[in-house]
């Protein structure tokens, strides 16, 4: 268990020893700001909430988080350090969870650094801060979901480019799960319970209900179980590759 903490610290510090941290944080903040004020018509709306801010998070994450996740395992494999990591006296689970938590906390840091927008909306009006807190929690959970998927895709390949592209596609499938673009793939032949399940996988629908201010246990459970599932898949894939 202690191993998770040690790996977490190494990984988290590792983000800051390269330009990755700076570039990611700056771009995330720039884009989220730009989208909120320009694309989201923050001022024109005249409403004291952060809906335009949170609305863009799924799309921001779609592009930026696979970029963060792609190096989780593909880079270890490329460098050969995976051989070092997996011959240390730790379990696969500890390694997977440790790396994931470091990436998740880094994303959390990026989210936390958007606090100026929250301060702004409080200065300009009287928003329901409870709803905003819920929005941040939901966004954080969704980020975790994207990361877990990205982590799994990263474990599949040595190439970071492939990991990135495949992650984006799979994340997109989850984001658009309730939409015709994804449903049509299944609507011809799948039974209706499967279709309903697919609709329930949609990141957008879960996230939107959270940003409305309702921290429904089902939505939280959705994201947490999704994270658990994809992390388990990551560990299994790495195990399988050991035997290959």
């Amino acid at each position: 268990m202690a191993a998770i903490g040690i790996i977490f610290r190494r990984e988290f510090a590792g983000y800051f020893s390269t330009p990755i941290a700076g570039v990611f944080l700056v771009i995330f903040l720039l884009l989220s700001g730009a989208f909120t004020f320009y694309l989201g018509n923050f001022f024109a709306r005249g409403q004291a909430d952060l809906v335009p801010f949170f609305d863009f998070h799924p799309w921001l994450y779609l592009v930026l988080i696979p970029a963060l996740a792609m190096r989780l395992w593909a880079e270890e494999r490329k460098n050969g350090t995976i051989e070092l990591l997996l011959t240390l006296p730790i379990t696969m689970g500890e390694a997977v969870v440790g790396k994931f938590l470091a990436a998740w906390c880094f994303t959390g840091l990026a989210l936390a650094l958007t606090f100026p927008i929250w301060v702004t909306v409080n200065m300009l009006g009287e928003p329901d801060n409870g709803v905003i807190v819920a929005g941040y929690v939901g966004s954080f959970l969704m980020a975790g979901g994207f990361l877990a998927i990205g982590s799994c895709m990263s474990a599949l390949t040595k190439s970071q480019v492939i990991a990135f592209v495949v992650s984006v596609v799979v994340c997109l499938a989850f984001v658009l799960s309730g939409f015709p673009m994804v449903l049509d793939l299944f609507s011809g032949w799948a039974p209706s319970f499967l279709l309903n399940t697919l609709v329930s996988f949609s990141f957008l629908s879960h996230f939107q209900s959270i940003t409305k201010g309702v921290l429904d246990l089902r939505d939280i459970f959705f994201f947490l179980s999704l994270i658990a599932l994809w992390l388990f898949a990551t560990a299994t894939i790495i195990d399988m590759k050991k035997a290959e």
Partner: protein, 352 residues
């Protein structure tokens, strides 16, 4: 007592398999005599699809032994080491480190193991200090003990000058020393070193070999190398692997004895007539063949090759004394390992 080697000096043909019942008796006796078996490999096999990289390898390594893995590239040395360290899952067979099965009891086995992977990988953005601290913590060492261990290890491998530089800026030699440092940090019972002196300059090679020899007494060490003189310098036992199978498991001296030139004597004599000298030498007991190595001014040079297993040193020196030859060179060949290596790993070449 240190070297209870089951089959020293025996060579294995391609079709022969190493009998394993004998090994367990040796391990049992060895255990009874106080030499503990630390690494047990049984019927290890690894197939990557249709290619069998490691084909039924069985051996044990005991405390105090330094086993040298030799073999052509692609023979299966690194694959075997990856299976011993637990990185790869074998297709068949078991590996036990100090009695713990690497696949079924991985944590216990890996705690007792230090591993230097091929290419000495390390996190490039970390400094040696940070990296070794990370490994130390992962190995369960904390606080003052960690500080102590780190400074001792850094001194053993001479990393003081580069301790706070990022690893990607280090030369190949220093990178390898960082890798070695992380393997020995926690003072493991078993060391698996994949080409530990690769890329090091002669001084560094010497330092690393001295380090290994000093550590050898309490540990079981398996190292792979392409440098045959390393086998003679460091190893107590040499195993040649080719095409996934063990071709020979012997001591370095045992390997030397297999050389066609073992105990051959190279002499340079001044001021004698070449043919007369040649005939005199030919008449000696035990001489199989004499090679002309040429003439240098007034000196003639021969290599006298004895029958297999014989030593003719006293005969030749007596002969030289009797005939009052002026010898400017007298060299007893111990055996050329690269020639033995070639013979054993490329059976298409005729055995001399």
């Amino acid at each position: 007592m240190q070297r209870l080697l089951p089959q020293s000096g025996k060579t294995f043909g391609w079709a022969e398999k190493q009998p394993n019942r004998g090994l367990f008796w040796w391990a049992f006796i060895g255990g009874g005599c106080g030499m503990s078996v630390m690494v047990e490999i049984e019927h290890l096999r690894k197939a990557f699809g249709p290619i069998t990289a490691v084909d039924d390898i069985t051996f044990t390594v005991g405390q105090g032994e330094v086993l040298g893995f030799l073999g052509p590239n692609g023979a299966g040395k690194s694959t075997t080491m990856k299976m011993i360290s637990g990185f790869l899952t074998p297709t068949a067979g078991t590996v036990r480190i100090s009695g713990y099965d690497v696949q079924n009891q991985p944590l216990d086995a890996k705690k007792r193991l230090g591993y230097l992977p091929e290419g000495a990988p390390a996190y490039q953005d970390m400094t040696p200090a940070g990296f070794l601290r990370f490994i130390g913590e992962m190995r369960g060492i904390r606080g003052k003990a960690l500080k102590q261990v780190l400074s001792e290890t850094v001194e053993k491998v001479n990393l003081q000058s580069v301790l706070h530089q990022t690893i990607d800026t280090l030369s190949k030699g220093f990178k390898r020393r960082v890798g070695l440092a992380q393997a020995i940090l926690h003072d493991p019972e078993v060391l698996i070193l994949d080409e530990p002196t690769d890329g090091l300059d002669p001084n560094q090679k010497h330092e690393v070999r001295t380090l290994i020899t000093n550590m050898a007494k309490e540990k079981a060490i398996i190292l792979s190398t392409h440098v045959l003189e390393e086998v003679q310098a460091v190893c107590t036992r040499a195993m040649i692997i080719a095409k996934g199978k063990v071709v020979t498991d012997s001591t370095p001296e045992g390997l030397e004895r297999q050389s066609a030139l073992h105990n051959a004597i190279t002499i340079t004599i001044r001021g004698v007539e070449e043919d007369g000298c040649f005939e005199t030498l030919q008449k000696l007991n035990g001489v199989k063949m004499i090679e002309h190595l040429g003439k240098e001014g007034a000196c003639v040079r021969f290599r006298v090759i004895p029958e297999k297993g014989l030593s003719i040193s006293s005969e030749v020196s007596q002969c030289a004394k009797e005939h009052q030859w002026e010898m400017t060179e007298y060299f007893v060949e111990r055996g050329q390992l690269d020639e033995v290596f070639r013979t054993l790993t490329m059976p298409s070449q005729a055995l001399t």
